[in-house]
């Protein structure tokens, strides 16, 4: 069922789908950044796809990605090692269809220098807080998000805590800066 989604995506969008993956039965499509909104709209509106419900949005920071292979255990890894130059972040959105029950994860790779990607909140309102959380934790800028503010942390917080280069033990005092509120 779900493999059908990936095939249909490839047939419909061709080059805009950079790669696909179905490890552990989780269908994943890497899409080109500037085609994201178009593909997402089609996934939502096409009758055979009908991905009407958002599940989650998050991001993977590949900075320390050095996969280790385990002897006698087949690896399902499809990510190359991070070389320090290519796209550092994988922003992912998981969608679910209430009619067909299939799911898909769409991913967009972005670089550290330009961590910008189109927001899917205008298509699925449920991504509102999820994208705010991803912004809060990874510093991904979602273009077109209606209210992109930090959600768990305070506006004065410096840095993005779930990035791999943010030390776990780092502490920051909270110094109130009213001029910062709601503005980044």
């Amino acid at each position: 069922m779900s493999k059908k989604v990936l095939d249909a995506l490839k047939a419909k969008f061709g080059d805009a789908i950079e790669a696909t993956d179905d490890q552990h039965g989780d269908e994943t499509a890497f899409v080109k950044r500037d085609k994201l909104r178009e593909i997402a709209t089609w996934l939502r509106d096409d009758k055979a796809m009908a991905f009407d419900a958002p599940v989650f949005a998050t991001c993977v920071d590949l900075l320390d990605w050095r996969p280790v292979s385990i002897p006698h255990t087949p690896s399902t890894n499809t990510r190359p090692e991070y070389d320090g130059a290519g796209p550092r972040f994988e922003v992912c959105w998981q969608l679910r269809s209430t009619t067909h029950r299939h799911r898909i994860r769409i991913k967009v790779r972005v670089t550290e220098a330009d961590p910008k990607v189109a927001s899917l909140t205008p298509l699925w309102i449920g991504f509102d807080w999820q994208e705010r959380e991803t912004f809060d934790m990874y510093g991904i800028r979602f273009d077109g998000h209606p209210d992109l503010r930090r959600i768990y942390l305070y506006d004065e917080f410096v840095g993005y805590p779930l990035r791999k280069d943010y030390p776990k033990e780092k502490r920051q005092p909270l110094v109130r800066r009213p001029d910062l509120v709601g503005d980044h």
Binding site: P54, F56, G126
Partner: protein, 413 residues
């Protein structure tokens, strides 16, 4: 003889009482929480009000953010279990099961678990679901002034916590489930105690329903309040009792069956209006369905081991660990290095107390997760709060918030 004006205002030269004094029209900002009893001490709502009517509400979570995801990246896969206990702390067993299932999916051993382990997981999960719903309903009733149901339900919850404590050793933070099974078998005679308690809880439920279901105050405060229709539930990504109250028939146990749920018979209650009253009724019915599952699961509980026989994930038996060097080394490597999970990624989900509880884990072949993300239903549900409290009165925030059943630990991670 003093006239009315003297009596009321205390002075004769006051502005004539016949002239109506208008209230100012400006909007007012009111902070509700974080230290408000109904906000569980973990959420702040900045309300813009026009009199008593809410014009805008900005819900701000994060007061209980404990960096679950960052901490998990530095813990072995087994060490994450105590962290998951602290997500939804009124149904920790379900979180344990969700995490274990995610790692088992990455390891490819989902289908190889001993059947007894699967049944034990279902039993403890359903007990947890009952404790979750009892807390939610009891606390919400209390916040509306009905104190007796709260005490009755908390008494029931304590019975179940005592049972779970007998199983796991801890009243609240059980850390009972392990990758590949559960940490220890159920104590002898435990299932009989459980069945006896279920009968007692059934009796208490009759009393509490008699107090609440047709109670005019309770119905007036709940019916028609905070409604979210089916379409809105879909596009907001709502799951669990909130979605079901709106008629969206979605239950992970039925739609994406896992564990031994296909072998158990139960119904998924759905509502029609999606308001607070339907959310309450759905939860009450789910408690009954969970009890139905428990009675079947106890009757069908097979014998056998509760841990997978796979040296990659299971600790060696204690007698071996103390008596043979190989098992000693294996035990040591298991504890220090953790279970080595092949590189890859997956998302696995279960029906939590509040809805779809999922973990998205990226593994890099070491004993620690490269990334662990939790799709916490409370967070998703709370995101609708700003929208649904609009145009309600300040007093309505309390039942709306209660029926969203925001659990601070889960929402704030």
């Amino acid at each position: 003889m003093a006239d009315l004006k003297t009596l009321v205002v205390g002075r004769k030269d006051a502005v004539d009482l016949d002239v109506e004094q208008e209230l100012p029209h400006e909007l007012m900002t009111v902070n509700m929480g974080p230290s408000h009893p109904a906000m569980h001490g973990t959420v702040r709502i900045v309300l813009t009000v026009d009199g008593e009517r809410i014009v805008k509400g900005d819900v701000q979570p994060g007061y209980l953010h404990r960096c679950f995801e960052k901490e998990s990246e530095y813990a072995t896969y087994t060490q994450v279990f105590p962290y998951t206990d602290r997500l939804n702390y009124v149904s920790p067993m379900i979180n344990n099961v969700g995490w274990a299932m995610t790692i088992e999916k990455l390891l490819g051993i989902t289908k190889q678990l001993p059947r007894r382990a699967e049944y034990v997981r279902v039993i403890v999960s359903e007990v947890s679901r009952i404790t979750d719903h009892l807390t939610c309903v009891g606390a919400s009733a209390m916040e509306l002034g009905a104190f007796t149901p709260f005490l009755y339900f908390l008494k029931c919850r304590e019975w179940l916590y005592t049972l779970l404590e007998e199983v796991s050793g801890a009243r609240l933070t059980h850390s009972y489930v392990r990758v590949g099974g559960v940490s220890k078998d159920l104590p002898v005679g435990w299932t009989d105690k459980l069945l006896a308690r279920l009968d007692e809880i059934t009796a208490v439920m009759v009393e509490v329903e008699a107090m609440l279901n047709q109670n005019k105050i309770f119905r007036d405060r709940m019916a028609g309040i905070g409604a979210l229709d089916r379409e809105a539930c879909i596009k907001w990504g709502q799951t669990g009792p909130i979605a079901r109250a709106a008629g969206l028939d979605y239950d992970v146990r039925k739609d994406y069956p896992y564990s031994v749920y296909p072998e158990l018979e139960f119904d998924v209650p759905v509502g029609t209006t999606g308001d607070c009253l339907d959310r309450y009724l759905v939860r009450i019915e789910e408690i009954k369905q969970s009890m139905r599952i428990l009675r079947q699961a106890v009757a069908q509980l097979p014998d056998g081991p509760v841990m997978i026989d796979d040296p990659r994930v299971a600790l060696p038996p204690k007698t071996d660990a103390y008596n043979t060097i190989e098992s000693m080394i294996r035990h040591f490597k298991h504890i220090v290095d953790g279970i080595r999970v092949p590189a890859g990624e997956t998302y696995a989900f279960v029906e939590g107390g509040n809805g779809e509880l999922g973990f998205y884990v990226v593994a890099d072949g070491t004993g620690r997760p490269y990334k662990a993300y939790v799709r916490s239903p409370s967070f998703v549900h709370l995101s609708t709060a700003s929208t649904i409290i609009k145009d309600h009165l300040i007093a309505d925030v309390v039942p709306i918030f209660g029926m969203i059943n925001m659990i601070g630990g889960e929402c704030d991670k």
